[in-house]
Amino acid sequence: MIPNNIKDLILALIEKTASKKAIWGKTSRPNEFKLNFEKGAVTTDFWDDRSGDAVDFAIYNKFGDRIDNFSATRGEPEFDLLIDLHNAAKREFYKVDETIFNLFNEVNEDKSIGKREIEEEDDSLPF
């Protein structure tokens, strides 16, 4: 059960991230993202657990101690809130929106897009 103040914090983080005002980084876990503060940090991770997809939200103090950790697996009531934060962090880290915006810009230009990967056959004999 996530306490209300932590839920508020998560909602605030989602909003801040969605408005491009939070810079997320990557940790040593494949799907975990971190957000550094002046006196601590928060992380959000997503992994395939024994009982299905799982997501967590952890808070670290300035000494690097994990002072709080909330996790939920798919189907649990808090999963949606935690996965929303994780997805927001992931989108921010990989700059998904910016990439899509650039793709649109490129598609809407008159010039041709894409690059031919097969090299033109070379007529010269190798011997």
Binding site: P30, D49, F63, G64, D65
Partner: protein, 190 residues
């Protein structure tokens, strides 16, 4: 010749001269044994007081000098102690990296706990204040804490994967930062 000895000799010389001159300029009627004794006694007392004063001042100066030297020695000792603590942390860091590279995660985890203790200890060392207030160091400590949790979670639940390559990179970064500070600390003259 020390300053104290020189001053003592000067005072004594001046005193003897004062006795001679005083007696020399006595009226004939005053040249009696009790008068000589009075003049010699008074001037000798004054010389004694002046010599005592000079010695007390010298003692005070030497006491201040001694206190300063003790403080300097203590600072040097603390500095050397801090350098040794940082060296120990760097060594432990390298050990952890070695354990991770050879797949001994349990051993790496144990040494990681030791390193965490050392890093926390740095916060209470006044010599290392410059290190512990730096933003880079603070971020490296938090990062290290996260890596420690990642290793721990991975040991408890292998489904929670961890990128050991990234952990080694983070450790290397921490080691480099500590080494730079250690070098800086070694070159500070007290």
């Amino acid at each position: 010749m020390t300053d104290v000895r020189r001053n003592t000799l000067i005072i004594t010389g001046v005193g003897i001269l004062a006795i001679i001159l005083t007696i020399y300029f006595f009226k004939e009627s005053d040249k009696t044994l009790p008068n000589y004794a009075t003049v010699i006694g008074t001037i000798c007392s004054l010389i004694g007081l002046a010599i005592a004063y000079v010695n007390i001042i010298a003692l005070k100066d030497s006491s201040i000098l001694m206190t300063t030297e003790i403080k300097k020695t203590l600072q040097k000792f603390n500095q050397l102690n801090s350098v040794s603590e940082i060296s120990k942390a760097i060594k432990t860091n390298q050990e952890i990296q070695q354990y991770i590279r050879s797949g001994k995660i349990e051993l790496a985890h144990l040494r990681t706990l030791d390193l965490k203790y050392m890093l926390l200890h740095f916060n209470s060392d006044p010599v290392l204040l410059e290190l512990t207030i730096s933003e880079t160091y603070k971020q490296l400590v938090i990062e290290f804490g996260m890596d420690l949790c990642s290793i721990n979670d991975n040991l408890l639940n292998p489904k929670r994967k961890v990128d050991l390559f990234k952990i080694v990179n983070n450790l290397e970064e921490l080691s480099t930062f500590l080494t730079q500070f250690e070098t800086k600390l070694k070159t500070i003259k007290i």
